[in-house]
Amino acid sequence: MKRVAVLFIVLIMMVVTGCQQPADTGADDPHGDSNGAPADNGAPADNGEAAVPEFGPEYADTIVLATTTSTYDSGLLDKIIPVFESMHGIEVDIISLGTGQAINIAERGDCDIILVHAPNLEDQFVEEGYGTERWNVMYNEFVFLGPNGDPAGIAESADIESALIKMQEHMEDEGIAFTSRGDNSGTHNKEVDLWPLAGIEVEGQEWYTSLGQGMGDTLITTNEMEGYTMTDRGTYFSMMDKLPNLEIVFEGDEALTNPYSIIPVNPNKHPGVKHEEALLLAEFFISDEAQKMIGEFGKDTFGEPLFFADAQ
């Protein structure tokens, strides 16, 4: 029995010490890069992650950026955050959550800065003193997706109102569904605000399917159901090849812009946040260099960018 216990403890020791791990608590990270292992210098790593230099910089500090799942999944941050990290030697831990949750943890002071796209919530956030200031970083557009071939001819609609009305008719006639994120995210709130423009009440409608899920999951579900949904262009592009049953059926209306802002958490509310470093990140996002990268992101892949730079 003693031998078993010894073996057990040895195994655990191996687990504890053997796996390369950077320091967790944001203190100095001596020799590893943020992936915990050296990668090939300059070569693209798998899974869409940005290439990381062989011996990473010694990070002086770590800040926590909370953002939404759709922002994270677009892959933009994987592209531009490493630039910031090597510029300033500050490591950025990115947490992707639903909009509501991201704002909630910012209000708690569990992160140092947020990047979200929910104007009303953002205003409230700053007004209540949780955030210092709101900087526009970029915007993209929401688009409506529908079954391939656009059987209802939604694309020909002149404006958002008629598009929605046509959509409703088609859904009621054919028994097709509209999938809503239903998770109180920025995207969801935007979608909810659009229906009244066309005078449509979604409550109680058979075709209105509220999922309570993030953008990616919602799109996958919509693809399976061959129905309608609203999404941001970025997420759609990044997942396009997994959504063979859908295509864009409506876009371009003014009402469909989706602005992203970056807001540092107010140190007056939470003295423990790393405000200076967060400011550096905010300034980086609105800097020319970052704005250019944002404007280019996605061009080589999709033929057009996913986001439009918006900093004044």
Binding site: M1, R3, V4, L7, F8, L11, I12, V15, V16, C19, Q21, P22, D24, T25, G26, D33, S34, N35, G36, A37, P38, A39, P44, A45, D46, N47, G48, E49, V64, T69, D73, D93, I94, I95, S96, I105, R108, G109, D110, N148, G214, G216, D217, L219, I220, M239, M240, D241, K242, L243, P244, E247, I248, H270, G272, V273, D300, T301, F302, G303
Partner: protein, 276 residues
């Protein structure tokens, strides 16, 4: 037959445009029939994806290995702590009588079936910067994840240990004491008598936490390179529609669990006379 043109970007192949009959269609404006053909091709590619994703493992991809390492570290340490506390507690509960024992027992059983994500929420509120233990700065680190998983595994380990120890003959305990064993020595002998059940307790604890996703997502934040574990990686990849990769991670998770359990079972078998 339409020809699809791909763009190579960041390790993934994404459709860019299709050329059919000398007409070029950017992918968005493809006729339905064309899209259907492409979908068929994509399906086949997706099937390859799982295979390719498993190759990630074989080529020692650091991203994958980091995730495996964090998973093992977090669950391994949590299991260690929950075992160190859980086995003695379960033994005491199994061997002693005290006032309020039914209450404590029921509490333990409740803990065994308790939704892990609720424990995650509780730990999150504990370590949040406005929470009582926020000053530790453990939120969004593996320390918080280990805490949550220890709490999740503890009722499993102690509950099963208690059940195993209960089945030890009380006469044996009396006999051992009559031979000069202290209460502690007799308790240790009881644990050894019930060692198969105790092993099951450990296996149950491990199984419960290595496959847990809600709590570690909440308190860890799924931060790449730091707090991303197999389960949260699966959630991420699924959300982004990379089913092949998600399945590959799932296979890795299953393999790890299987190997761990196999190890424990063989260790037990090799110890003399442990098997029934």
């Amino acid at each position: 037959m339409p020809e699809m043109f791909y763009m190579q970007t960041q390790g993934a192949l994404l459709p860019h445009k299709i050329i059919e009959n000398d007409r070029a269609f950017p992918i968005r404006y493809c006729p339905r029939a064309v899209v259907k053909r492409i979908a068929a091709v994509k399906q086949e590619e997706r099937n390859m994806e799982a295979v390719n994703a498993l190759k990630l493992l074989l080529t020692f991809d650091p991203y994958v290995y980091n995730i495996i390492g964090v998973s093992l570290r977090v669950s391994g340490i949590a299991l260690l702590f929950s075992t160190l506390i859980g086995i003695p507690v379960g033994t005491i509960l199994g061997l002693t009588h005290f006032r309020g024992k039914p209450f404590v027992t029921a509490l333990l059983y409740t803990g065994m079936g308790f939704p892990p994500v609720v424990i995650g929420l509780f730990v999150f509120l504990l370590f949040s910067s406005v929470g009582p233990m926020g000053s530790l700065g453990w939120l969004f680190t593996t320390k918080a994840m280990i805490t949550a998983q220890t709490i999740i595994a503890f009722p499993l380990v102690s509950g099963f240990t208690m059940a195993a120890v209960l089945s030890v003959d009380k006469n044996l305990m009396k006999q051992l004491q009559a031979l000069g064993a202290t209460k502690l020595q007799a308790s240790w002998a009881a644990i050894k008598e019930a060692r198969i059940g105790v092993l099951v307790a450990i296996i149950a604890g491990f199984g419960g936490i290595i496959s847990e996703v809600g709590a570690v997502m909440l308190v860890g934040g799924n931060i790449e390179g730091k707090t991303r574990v197999l389960t949260t990686a699966i959630v991420l990849e699924t959300r982004q529609g990379n089913f092949g990769v998600a399945i590959a991670f799932g296979i890795i998770l299953l393999s790890i669990t299987f190997i761990a359990n196999l190890t424990m079972v063989t260790l037990q078998k090799r110890h003399l006379f442990a098997s029934e």
